[in-house]
Symmetry: C2
Subunit: 961 residues, 2 copies
């Protein structure tokens, strides 16, 4: 089975943490550890960290970056970086290097000869080459969903573990470039066993304050639900972003003077350089970390190492003349070990690092929304990948090689891995690169499609051809449009029943729909669509359209079953806008007006600052957005048994369909925005704003990567006295799944279908940015204005859904939690012509029973031949739900309907370490006044207890039944 | 003593030429030679030649290029290139590299560890690293003097020989970048033992024709005087300049697509690249050379080799599918070996490759004159270096370490070595780099000055302080200006007596000048100058100022001795211009008008072409130059015993002093031009034109690097039918020491003090470009308009001398040859306050007797402790002088007055091979109709016979007497 050290690597030289702790407890604790360089306790130790920052796509595609193609766009070739570094590391055992992005390392490794692979393994074993962070990419923190982040980290970490064993395990998380930092990321890193976390970008005011108060290093308590130190993470802000100190950039891409140490030559400059370096050593403790590298640097590592060798030689030579500076090659995992030895008390951080501003008017809050279509496609792809992973497990070996050919989930895993990059789903890449990410996801899905076809063939016993109708989102499905008789198959990847409306393009006007049991399903044929819902009888009789977890269900049914609506809305007759929202169950009503507006994007021509709005930065020219139309033309499209629809037209480029589904608690608002007109020379950032009578004051709430929710307050930061410079952009926060406002009685929650930017600028109001089209670059490197072309027209048309729920605050989570998970993991529809053959198995469920309401099946994927990785998550925060914020227990043996669980071993969240081997560095911090959550224990080895927000990662040994 | 292979290198793997010839005579001659890669006789063999072209200064200084400093100007760091190439060569024995510029290699070598040096030596021994060309730099061919070229080649070749022995000897000359090619360079390379010569740049019409007629490779017969094959050189024009074929540049500085050979990736392009390469293989024979590299490439050699490895692998893999293309790593010395084996008859080339045009209006004839002050300073520095070298020999060991401290000639040798570079003396470097070259020459002289002081102290027996009055050229010498009694010491570096006028700034009005014997010397005190001449009594009683060869002579004498003038001129009373020139000896007179003009430099705004005049390119806007003034204001400054002077003022920025020296045959014209005014927005290229009644028709004559003279004809090229596009610029040629026009009776020769551009546009006229000041860059990379700043004013003031002689054509050489050598090697003056002490030796001569008139002492320099390098040159061409164009013999044992010659061994011209070991490849060529010169033999081992234009290089073992 899976082992921590690869076979045959008995002489693993790098120290395990346990061994390390033994060292630390001896008297000579300050002595150099075998894998870390010696420091000098009586001097200022400057840890030079040679590193490269290799974007997994940005100005060029990931392929172009790897090969060094299209260097006219940007000079960068990762294959050469790794070639060069490995060469240079061999020249001197003191030299060190860290590598971060496994997506690149993985490619490179595959192309190396065995002898090079042996050399690299040796360098890793000796700690000379160290993997840091280690995910497939360095994920964006604002626009990613935790599910995809955990997956991409697992993908990278697994490769490192499989290849290098324990010596290849990254000890430190390293997000030097992402544009703001999410608390949930810190929580994830802590649960993955990292000893520390370093980053480069934080608000300029925050940084100035931390420099002054010496709070550049801290303990981040990244969850209000998890029992410390489960989500505690030692966190350091790097002194120079992720760049070298000024004047010491010796990469081929830099122009800084090299060290010219031949005294015979005209330009000898050693003394000058050394003096400059000593001036730069300004830190407070006797250790300081210096990032020596930057974007795609070290393609010619010799330039760096040759000059750093000289720097170390000449600076340390001054120790003979009473200098107290000691320079050394080091790594980001050796550095915190030294800090940990100091046994200090570190400041506590409990909020997050959003939004990020690098200057007074330069808030990086635009990318929360940039490229809305890519953001949606990435989210949808995550749903498909989970489906693909699950069906690979459930369908067994034939899934990958079956009647429909060879399929795999790896391609999609990798495509999703790169899509998490901080210039991918963030929307801050060049247009051609955005296309490349989308293409990769499509290719990934094409591979998954084969797997899914194979798996469904196994599970249904039918090898009849099956189509997926990729273009249902634009109402195209040739099969349903041409066939007079077809069947639809729905796979629900959630661990519980869910109701899902289906709308199919058809040509006829009368359809009879029945379910697997031959019962009629309520449906409605409109102009060119058939909308249908169905009743299923397994887990939840209340919902009209039940898609059982991990289940295959055939719908060819139409049922007359009807339910009462739980929610109602009113529209203003004069304006055509929404005017109120009522929860019929709880009998509560709020005034609610909703409209669409656009902020006029700054063109960089106002007097305070030249900053423009661009892919990264949101900077409205005025704090007052322009209303697109004060009134909407409305049309009641359908009032039927399954759905009530009102369409609103605001302008030729903004419209909305408001829907209430039978028996559902949420109001759906399907907005369509675009092509955003820019012929007037004005860039536009389009929002929708909900104005209510909720007394929210300055407070609102946003989720962090789709998990825990943080409180936000207008013009306020919890950790420093904010000097607000951008009254709108400075109050925007990323939302990944939801945002809400509330008062004592009412909570209005908006669940989104993708990551967006949101804020509450006025009491009772909540605004969400939907789309952006801009005319200027914003000077952060991308070099293009964000103006996405459309497929058929000038400018991209974006469409999406917002789900609104109104509840009392203390039960709101009970509604929005399952609603949001249902948005993230969507049912997969597939179609077959005609009716299924007689021996087709029309229903299948992968789980024996629905999971408890608090439990989310986060991961189910094949690990090795006989092992399956499962992640079970408690999806409620502590205290947010009276009903669900309690420990809950799942019995692993009673979980699957088709798999026997033979054994279970718990792992770190990243699945690269046994849970029992996790032994992170411990840090002292300030006392906190908040009561800390307690955690319940497992009642038996087969029963897994989940405390609020807890994720349990288990490797199961299984046998197909 | 000196050996061909360094000590301890018994196992020298590379093949000596003798061994090579043995191989060639066997039947398996096509088999791979040990040091050359295997080729395939039935296929087209594409020789990939990995190379870097490292300018020894251009946009950056040589230091900046070496270290990679100022990369904002140009990315280039030679230290890293060599680091990287050595690393990469070790990865695969098939890989090859050539290195060219020893100035850089030398520096790098000194900084390497012994283990690296051992690795490099091994690579050299195995032929994997090959030195090509091997001079200190790749010299300019238009503006260099052969004396300095031979020196810089010797400097580089000696380092290679001392370091690597025979394996380090370059077999091929490689001038891939110089802007036109001098026949004298080819002659020098042939005499240095090179087997071939490759270059990249030639006239675009010539290239097109040669491509068409398959004459890209030829035999260059580079001397009309030397017996073939002494100056025959196999010469190849490279197919792509010195760049890789389009699309195959894989350097970090290029943007061509890398080979993406992972079929799993999106951008797999192997098939496309391979096909593109096969399309590019257009050559006629079954061998073609492909330069794979360019300016400062291979700083990260991995990029190149990784992709070339793949190219070779994938192209050769197609041989299995009947492809007939065989790609291999090769070198420029392996390639001609293969051609030589073909045993073909090659076209014969007897003229040169000037001028160079890369397009219809783009003649690179401006740099013949660019930076006139630097060109003069370089020439003067050569004279000083020869003096320094001679005095190092004559003064013995104390010269380098004596009463005035540590001195050396090496610094000056190296400064002169880099100054020969094709962007140095050529004037095509950036301004700051031009300053750097001048600074290096000044530093070199400072080191020499100490040596000279020491040597003169040894030779004179007096350690009294001595000053050199560096600023005599601008009439500043504090000692002579302030002292009432001083003595002057003159050192003559020529091998014969020479007359030299001296003009010193003084304060008094009455001076008594006496010579070493106390006899009065004729002198004349003007306003602030004393002009003097002197009589010496050793070799030549006829000349008034005799400076014995290699001799130290004290002048504190004034003599009443007077001679008759040999030359007279008349001035036109109306215009103030010269009107006739008479040789009183031969009783011949020509009409001669001389004036100054400027061509209006093209600003790139005319309709035929956007080409501007710039540092490289001369392109007048009109073929008619503007006259600066139709008349000159004249003043007869002095009519005295020693000199007659007429000053002409043409404008505030153009003036001239015309001088006739007592007893001299030449008319001296000292011109002063500048600051060239450009406030009118017009760039100016200033010429002086001599208009005569000589019936020269379209013919004129220019020297090649100061040696043999070539016939030029207006709007004509000997080797192709010229389509003339630039009636002026297309007729300019470089002159290094002289130009002349002639008819049956008269030859008017102009001897110059530096390299310049010259032409004859009209019958009987000769024009010389003196100075240029331009307002635009000419798009050849330098990126600056050539507009040199002056020290005290806006724009550089240039001053120089032209020496005119009128003779019958058949005796003209008897006059201009010694005149030109006297201009090249000028006496060195030094001064001491007061009179020399009593025991000072006032006269010294290093040679026992004056050399025969035909013999020039080209080189005399210390080689090792007990050895001295000497070069004796026959300075007359075959047939140019009835008197002197004859074999002449010198007895080595009777040469020196202070050295006993114990042994003599003849060497190749580059002094890196024993003459007897020279065994160059032999090439068949077309029959020539011209009678070939025969050579006389040495009468005895101690007697060296020189045939016309022959240079004999001898290593002498000597003992100080």
């Amino acid at each position: 089975m899976w082992t921590l050290c690869p076979h045959g690597k008995e002489n693993c030289h790098c120290l395990s943490l346990k061994l390390l702790l033994l060292y630390l407890s001896t008297d000579n604790g300050l002595q150099s550890l075998q894998s870390c360089p010696a420091t000098n306790p009586s001097m200022l130790n400057v840890h030079l960290v040679p590193h490269t920052h290799d974007d997994v796509g940005w100005l060029k595609t990931v392929d172009q970056y790897y090969y060094g193609d299209r260097n006219n766009i940007q000079h960068a070739g990762v294959q050469y970086i790794l070639d060069s570094v490995i060469d240079q590391l061999q020249k001197d055992p003191a030299r060190r290097f860290i590598y971060v992005e496994t997506a690149f390392f993985y490619r490179w490794w595959r192309q190396q000869s065995q002898s090079t692979q042996r050399i690299v393994a040796q360098l890793v074993n000796e700690g000379r080459l160290e993997f840091i962070n280690g995910g497939w990419c360095m994920s964006d923190e604002a626009t990613t969903h935790y599910s995809a982040v955990i997956d991409q980290m697992t993908l990278g970490l697994r490769f490192l573990n499989d290849t290098f064993g324990e010596c290849g395990r990254p000890r430190v998380a390293w997000h030097i470039d992402p544009f703001g930092h999410a608390r949930e990321h810190a929580s994830i890193f802590a649960q993955m066993g990292y000893d520390g976390f370093f980053f480069g970008r934080l608000d300029y005011q925050d940084k100035a304050r931390r420099m002054k108060t010496k709070e550049m290093e801290m303990l981040w308590r990244a969850s209000e639900s998890l029992t410390p130190p489960l989500a505690d993470l030692f966190t350091g802000v790097l002194p120079n972003g992720y760049n070298p100190p000024e004047g010491f950039c010796w990469d081929q891409s830099c122009d800084d003077a090299p060290i010219r140490d031949d005294p015979d030559l005209e330009d000898y400059n050693v003394d000058e350089i050394v003096q400059k370096f000593l001036n730069a050593a300004f830190y407070k403790t006797n250790h300081i970390i210096m990032t020596m590298g930057s974007d795609f640097q070290y393609e010619n590592a010799n330039l760096w190492y040759k000059n750093m060798d000289k720097l170390i030689k000449y600076v340390n030579a001054l120790q003979a003349k009473e200098s107290k500076v000691n320079v050394l090659y080091s790594t980001p995992s050796c550095y915190p070990q030294e800090l940990n030895l100091a046994n200090l008390t570190w400041p506590l951080k409990t909020d997050d690092f959003f939004p990020y501003a690098d200057d007074a008017h330069d808030f990086w809050t635009g990318y929360f929304t940039s490229r809305p279509a890519l953001k949606l496609y990435e989210r949808l792809s995550n749903s498909r990948l989970q489906t693909c992973n699950q069906l690979e497990v459930l369908g067994g070996p034939k899934s990958k090689s079956g009647p429909f050919g060879e399929g795999d989930s790896d391609t999609m895993s990798k495509a999703m891995g790169v899509a998490q990059h901080h210039d991918a789903v963030s929307g801050t890449e060049k247009q051609h690169v955005a296309y490349d990410y989308a293409r990769r996801l499509a290719t990934g899905w094409a591979h998954c499609e084969v797997l899914v076809r194979n798996s469904l063939a196994v599970l249904s016993g039918s090898e009849a051809p099956r189509v997926f109708c990729e273009n249902l989102n634009i109402s195209v499905c040739p099969l349903t449009e041409s066939s007079h008789k077809f069947s639809m198959n729905v796979y629900n990847p959630l661990g519980r029943t869910v109701s899902w409306p289906v709308r199919l393009p058809v040509n006829g006007s009368v359809y009879s729909v029945t379910d697997a049991n031959g019962r009629a399903v309520d449906s409605q044929v409109g102009n060119v669509f058939i909308s249908l819902k169905c009743t299923c009888y397994i887990y939840d009789m209340k919902s009209s359209c039940l898609l059982p977890l991990l289940s295959v269900r055939w719908f060819h049914c139409l049922s007359p079953h009807r339910n009462i609506n739980n929610t109602s809305v009113t529209f203003d007759d004069t304006t055509g806008l929404l005017s109120s929202l009522t929860n019929l169950e709880t009998d509560q009503t709020i005034q609610l007006t909703q409209n669409f507006y656009w902020y006029n994007a700054s063109a960089g021509n106002n007097k305070e600052s030249r900053q423009t709005s661009g892919a990264y930065i949101f900077r409205p020219n005025s704090s007052d957005p322009f209303v697109i139309n004060k009134t909407a033309e409305t049309q009641i499209v359908t009032v039927s048994s399954t759905v009530q629809e009102v369409t609103q037209w605001f302008s030729p480029w903004v419209s909305q369909v408001v829907r209430l589904y039978e028996g559902h608690r949420e109001l759906e608002m399907e907005w369509t925005v675009g092509p955003v007109p820019v012929a007037d020379g004005l860039g536009k950032e389009v929002i929708t704003r909900l104005d209510t009578d909720i007394k929210s004051s300055d407070y609102f709430y946003t989720d962090s990567n789709g998990r825990e929710v943080l409180e936000r307050r207008k013009d306020y930061r919890p950790t420093w006295e904010l000097k607000q410079t951008e009254p709108v952009a400075g109050n925007y926060y990323p939302i990944n799944s939801r945002a809400y406002i509330k008062d004592d009685k009412h909570q209005l929650t908006v669940v989104t279908d993708r990551s967006q930017g949101a804020s509450s600028i006025y009491n009772g109001s909540l605004e969400i940015m939907l789309h952006r089209r801009l005319l200027y670059d914003d000077f952060r490197g991308v070099g293009e204005p964000l103006s996405e072309p459309g497929e058929f027209s000038d400018g991209l048309v974006a469409r999406g859904r917002l789900l609104l729920t109104l509840s009392p605050p203390d039960t709101a989570a009970d509604v929005h939690k399952p609603l949001a998970q249902g948005m993230v993991l969507q049912p997969l529809l597939s179609f077959q012509d005609g009716t299924p053959s007689a021996n087709t198995k029309l229903e299948f469920s992968g789980l024996q029973t629905s999971l408890p309401p608090a439990v989310h099946l986060l991961t189910l994927s094949q690990w090795d031949k006989d092992t399956v990785l499962i992640r079970l998550e408690h999806q409620y925060q502590a205290k947010e739900s009276k009903t669900h914020s309690q420990p809950v227990t799942v019995n692993l043996q009673k979980l699957f309907s088709t798999l026997e669980v033979l054994g279970a071993s718990e792992m770190s969240l990243g699945a690269n370490q046994w849970k029992e081997d996790m032994n992170r560095l411990q840090w002292n911090t300030e006392k906190t006044s908040k009561p800390l959550p307690l955690s319940a224990k497992d009642p038996s080895p087969w029963e897994v207890t989940l405390n609020p927000m807890e994720i349990r990662t288990l490797l199961l040994r299984v046998r197909q039944l």
